[in-house]
């Protein structure tokens, strides 16, 4: 998906390269990939059909099981409340499909506001985390100063601290700082991510020092070197870290749940999880809210699928 869009936009945008060679190269690369996949299939599953049939069966069953809850939620969100809670389960709604649940949810609830809050909080957390972690990682990787070693050991040791155990003192601290029940109070405590510093330091360690020395000989300051030599070389890790931080901030529940009180300040996981409508449980509406809440990150995922998978794979660790 991602490749097809870049293939369509790249030649139109640059316009300088002859289109033919680009397309040829892509076709060749695709053919090569196909051959490699075929080779791997033969190596791992054997040359016969039996292994393949078995593998496809298992993967299809697993995928069906994994898709089923989502599919059922989507279907239910397009039913009327009466059909959703009909006692003998019905796949096809008697009253037909309807988007009423979506209309009700969007008209009545704070969902658009919660999504907006989540966008603000996650963006703020991502920007601050990436900036401070990249600067710190560069200092740990390249700068020489007293105390560097034990400060880095401290950063590694901080990996062991589960953020969840800090909620009690942090909550007290937020009241003292007058940040409780504010978006800033939701965001700021999330920006300390020692793992990101370590991941980026490992990346900077692998950039050849010579590249920076050339710039330094030309009289560039340390900050200049960092911004014009190191950062441009680090686009891949910066993307990976940004995506990782954004997703974890977006999905964070416990801290935003503790620190927010008013519905206008809640993020989407907190709002959806704690504010129920006043008429008791209405499953069609709930599924509709859930689908609206699920949509933003799923769209982000579709757009950046390759980066996200690579980012998680190379630098990815640290659960929810």
């Amino acid at each position: 998906m991602a490749t097809s869009t870049t293939a369509a936009t790249a030649p139109a945008g640059s316009g300088r390269e002859p289109m033919g060679s680009d397309v040829d190269a892509r076709t060749r690369a695709r053919a090569q990939k196909k051959r490699e996949a075929e080779h791997l299939r033969t190596l791992t599953l054997g040359p016969g059909r039996k292994g393949r049939v078995a593998a496809y069966t298992v993967v299809a069953v697993l995928a069906a099981l994994w898709a089923l809850p989502m599919v059922w939620a989507v279907l239910s969100s397009f039913k009327s409340e009466a059909d959703v809670s009909a006692a003998p389960l019905q796949l096809w709604p008697e009253g037909g499909w309807t988007a009423d649940a979506y209309r009700n949810v969007l008209a009545a609830g704070d969902i658009p506001l919660w999504i907006w809050n989540s966008v603000l909080v996650s963006t703020l957390v991502t920007v601050i985390t990436v900036i401070i972690s990249a600067l710190a990682a560069y200092a740990f990787s390249r700068q020489k100063f007293r105390g560097r070693r034990w400060l880095f050991v401290l950063t590694i040791a901080a990996l062991m601290v589960p953020p969840q155990i800090l909620i009690v003192p942090l909550f007290d601290q937020m009241i003292a700082l007058r940040l409780s029940d504010t978006l800033l109070g939701v965001a700021l405590p999330q920006v300390v991510m020692p793992l990101m510093v370590i991941v980026m330091k490992n990346f900077f360690d692998q950039i050849p020092v010579e590249l920076e020395e050339a710039a330094r000989l030309d009289g560039a300051s340390d900050f200049r070197v960092f911004f014009s030599v190191v950062l441009p070389l680090s686009r891949s890790i910066l993307t990976a870290v940004s995506i990782f931080v954004f997703i974890s901030a977006w999905n964070n529940f416990l801290w935003p749940f503790i620190v927010t009180n008013s519905p206008e300040i809640m993020t989407i996981p907190v709002g959806l999880g704690t504010v129920k409508n006043a008429y008791g449980v209405q499953y069609a509406s709930e599924m509709a809210s859930a689908m609206i809440g699920a949509l933003p990150l799923l769209i982000v995922f579709m757009l950046f699928q390759r980066h996200i998978i690579r980012g998680f794979a190379t630098s990815g660790m640290g659960g929810q």
Binding site: L135, V168, F312
Partner: protein, 317 residues
């Protein structure tokens, strides 16, 4: 090559190992001259690190020694009273027991299933993006979306699962209301929700196995299963070690999905240790006591991490 880069960047390494790779005492190549610029680079990070990590740790430790309350500003020194109360409270132990039970019943399937998924996708079956998307997508859902979907699936009379059981003439199960079953249901939800993360870690590790190992094995006449057990699984040892650690730490920290699905019920059967802390502090207003329990839990996490380091070290030597 510096001494710090002794492993390829693409294989994720446990945090513990990152610690041992530090200490580039004498690096080959030139070093930048010592300067104070480093502090300027570090300052913003250190500021947040100090305010939102180091200070709360110290402040929390102090709080745990007082009877600080959420509703009343007065607090007095209580010594270790909070700790001894927590350690003698059967509810604390049952929450801890629930947490450990959940860690075991969630981690084992999360590791086995994620490996099976990654291996199947790795073998180069067609439709890669579809399999990846299906297995990984639930990981991107906010916890409240996950729990809303599953609470609906688990509903007694018109939920999908009991509805299907009805069709096959099997009696309904109280997925979230039966004390014996509820924790298993939550483990199932957790498996569905988070397996994508381990799946990606395994998938990237599998892609680092050189093809020629399989080719050599094929020449030696090793069959499909033989290749899986003699090449793939041994090559996955360090990745599995990492995944076991990350999974255990993640499962010990379980709170969100339980809180939203059962709120710790029925009858405390699914209450986790983090919920015990939450209940003590934010519904019982006892911040000092909640802090003390936090530190008991922290000690458990440190023990698990140290045990992993010790195992990793022993394997190396």
């Amino acid at each position: 090559m510096t001494t710090t880069t002794n492993s390829p960047a693409s294989t994720p390494r446990p945090p513990a190992a990152a610690g041992t790779s530090l200490a580039p005492r004498r690096r080959p190549g030139k070093q930048p001259a010592p300067s104070r610029t480093g502090y300027w680079f570090l300052a913003p990070y250190l500021f947040f690190f100090a305010v939102f990590l180091v200070w709360p740790i110290i402040y929390g430790l102090w709080m745990s020694l007082t009877n600080r309350s959420l509703v009343n500003d007065e607090s007095s020194f209580a010594g270790f009273a909070n700790y001894s109360e927590a350690l003698t409270d059967p509810q604390m132990w049952s929450s801890l027991g629930n947490t450990l039970f959940f860690t075991v019943i969630s981690s084992v399937p999360l590791i086995l299933v994620s490996f099976a998924m990654a291996y199947l996708v790795y073998t180069g079956l067609k439709g890669q993006w579809l399999w990846r998307l299906t297995f990984f997508a639930p990981f991107l859902l906010p916890v409240s979306v996950v729990t809303a979907i599953w609470a609906f699936l688990f509903t007694n009379d018109f939920g999908l699962i009991n509805g299907l059981l009805d069709r096959f003439g099997i009696s309904q199960v109280g997925w979230l209301s039966d004390e014996q079953v509820a924790m298993w249901s939550i483990a199932l939800v957790t498996l569905w929700w988070t397996v994508g993360f381990n799946f990606l870690l395994y998938l990237s590790a599998l892609q680092n196995i050189p093809d020629h190992l399989y080719e050599a094995a094929q020449l030696d006449g090793a069959g499909t299963w033989r290749r899986l057990f003699s090449i793939t699984l041994p090559m996955m040892k360090s990745t599995t070690g990492l995944i076991v650690l990350l999974q255990a730490l993640a499962s010990l920290k379980v709170f969100d999905q339980i809180f939203l699905l059962t709120a710790g019920g029925p009858n405390g059967a699914t209450r986790s240790i983090l919920q015990y802390i939450y209940d003590a502090g934010f519904t019982g207003y006892r911040l000092g006591y909640a802090s003390a329990t936090s530190y008991i839990f922290f000690a458990l996490i440190v023990l698990v991490s140290l045990a992993q380091m010790w195992f990793a070290k022993r394997k190396d030597s």
